[in-house]
Point group: C2
Chain length 408, copies 2
């Protein structure tokens, strides 16, 4: 149960990387960004070997937290594992708001308070393994915080670019955790362009969503962990707040790998990509039957984490959603905030706006019949609600007697 | 591994309650505040029966989170367990700042982002079991948030009083989670007086630290969990940020109960009570050899959670510290913030000021020889650092080319 220690060398089963679009093969253990086709690279494993080396019982005896899935991950040497205490995130029902088969997976319990820790723990560990000295990324807040914290721990320099209106708490957190953070007068795609354009001049490595192969492997642990928590089965439907979509893609990959080693059957959850009405490129492309999702103009939503006008992995998200029999759905800001407030008030769980968006989407899909009340549904709350603006409270009391007790 | 479900009835081994000062016996399963002597009540168990009913192996097979210790807890009926996903909090070394045998137990991963969740989960569950309809408490922020969230979930009305300068995030969080929160022009003891005085007129139940018997049982789980994480042994020394001191008292009780059932030996950690120089009543009483700690005048510190001028369990804290061979130590705000900033920058872990105080205290005790470099030390980070003020960042960048890359 010593969850602060990694035990020995990490036996990895990585065989190679491949282009998610063309299938072209790339060598493992080398530095890679996008493929030659300009598309994300995904990591492939010797799943036969993995299935023979690891049993469910052996796994069950390990400390909690996602490094228990190390055979499914690409880090070769245990000393390169960069860890900040990645707990198993809980599944929490919302008994007042929904039926007992609707569960929130609360990713806000991870280091730096968001699911971005999963991807960045892996990306930074691999950056360490590959000897990188300077990492850079665009962020709406949470990814930058995770990159900062894991980079600090790895002793790697980190530079972060965020939209000018990123909340103060995110910007301060990034800087406090050792990164240099710049507020940029634009959106996350403008920040991303700066990171890309500066690569040659600065020598930094671009850690943007899906522009390197390993964040997806970290996000994959959401799928592994969820299946293990449910006793090696999957739920009927997953509602996932979709910006860059790495987590949705990662979970889809996780389920395929688990089936390949025989730990789950062929059943898959329906994957539902949740976006905000003010920034819904994936929803638009899904509804039009298109393979790619062009840039969304004038993106705006209170759910900053899904304010992603263009996703490099658009085709991977759409492919997973369609293969799963799922759908893409947009909810407006009013519904998001109303759902956040209602769930906090009635069920005592303060979701982030992106997490609340999945609850609003679930409610809408229930109403229009796209999900059934009997379906076991998992809603991803991707970050702690504490990082987001909340309504102020003005109620004051003078402590000197006499106090008018009828006020209470 | 289904950590969102409680399995069946809770076999409890509670025999009675007793006054922590006089030892007078009180009946279990009845509503109790303080004892007739005006002192805290503590819960006593049939430890023989408990030790026969539960094995370490049976425990190891249970879902993670502190409800796994249900035999050590007072809730009789499973349907009264109020839960928000109480994960096992990780032990995280600080390799850049300290030796590998110095571990942070990061309590910020619990519901509502602080260790207050432990105590309030139990207190609210017992309030439900005992049929209470309205709970009230004074808070510096985190306890109020935890009471609000658990009360919302239990469907119990909650009223909270906090000092006027309590950070906006805490006040908003409390209100959003269904409680009614009042800012009071005073400190936490003034708020506490209001709660006490209003009991009769309002009918609310006073859930203040140690003024009811069950928060201590929740905090006890820190000791149970820590011992289990370390393979059923205790560390050499524990640095604990001490306001009301429930956690320190609770852990001390946990270790005694674990020894009584033979799961750990007689060894105890040295318990170190950490306070801020601007509010150090326990340190003053410890140094003077006194049994009680009178009210500290003009209390002030950035570590709001330990800005507790008077603790009703003062004698229990001092007793545990002395019995353990530990000590009480104060650190100033400058050292607290410097330590927070340094650990975030070098080790990527953003502690709360109270947690940073334990790190500053460890460094001071190492320097003056009160702890040895070889000691295994556990520092309690009692809350997420995200709820506290951080330095602002002003760095901005125009995204339009040309960008001067030499700036990075």
């Amino acid at each position: 149960m010593k969850n602060h220690e990694q035990t020995g060398e990490t036996p990895t089963f990585v065989t190679h990387l491949e282009c998610a679009m063309t299938g072209a093969r790339y060598e493992a253990d080398r530095l890679h960004g996008l493929s030659e086709a300009g598309r994300p690279l995904v990591v492939r494993y010797d799943l036969d070997g993995l299935g023979k080396a690891l049993t469910k019982d052996a796994l069950a005896a390990r400390p909690t937290g996602f490094w228990r899935y190390r055979e499914f991950l690409p880090v070769r040497r245990a000393e390169n594992v960069v860890s900040l205490g990645e707990v198993e995130t809980p599944l929490i029902p919302l008994p007042a708001r929904f039926a007992p088969n609707v569960l929130v997976k609360d990713e806000g319990r991870l280091p730096t308070g968001s699911f971005k820790a999963r991807g960045l723990a892996l990306a930074v560990s691999m950056a360490k393994e590959l000897g990188l000295g300077h990492l850079a990324m665009p962020t709406n807040g949470n990814a930058g915080a995770a990159m900062a914290a894991y980079s600090a721990r790895a002793g790697i320099r980190a530079t972060v670019f965020c939209p000018a209106d990123t909340p103060e708490v995110n910007v301060s957190e990034i800087e406090l955790q050792g990164a240099t953070v710049w507020r940029v007068d634009g959106l996350i795609n403008d920040c991303g362009r700066i990171v890309g354009e500066g690569k040659e001049a600065t020598g930094w490595f671009d850690l943007s969503t899906l522009k390197e192969p390993y964040r997806i492997e970290g996000k994959k642990t959401m799928g592994l962990e969820l299946a293990e928590q449910l006793g090696w089965r999957v739920p009927d439907v997953i509602f996932y707040p979709t910006g860059g979509g790495t987590g949705l893609i990662g979970m889809w990959k996780a389920f395929a790998e688990l089936e390949a080693i025989g730990w789950i059957g062929p059943k898959r959850p329906r994957m539902v990509a949740v976006q905000a009405s003010g920034c819904a490129p994936i929803v638009r492309a899904f509804e039009r039957g298109e393979e790619h999702a062009p840039l969304w103009q004038d993106a705006h939503t209170v759910a900053a984490g899904i304010r992603v006008p263009a996703a490099v992995g658009d085709f991977m998200i759409l492919r997973a959603v369609r293969e799963s029999g799922g759908f893409a759905i947009a909810v407006d800001d009013e519904a998001i905030i109303a759902e956040r407030d209602r769930i906090a008030r009635e069920d005592g769980l303060l979701l982030c706006p992106e997490g609340a968006a999945t609850a609003a989407a679930y409610a809408a899909a229930l109403a229009d019949g796209r999900v059934d009340r009997a379906d076991e549904a998992v809603l991803f709350n991707c970050a702690t609600g504490l990082k987001y603006p909340m309504p102020p409270v003005a109620r004051t009391l003078d402590h000197r007697p006499p106090i008018d007790w009828t006020r209470f």
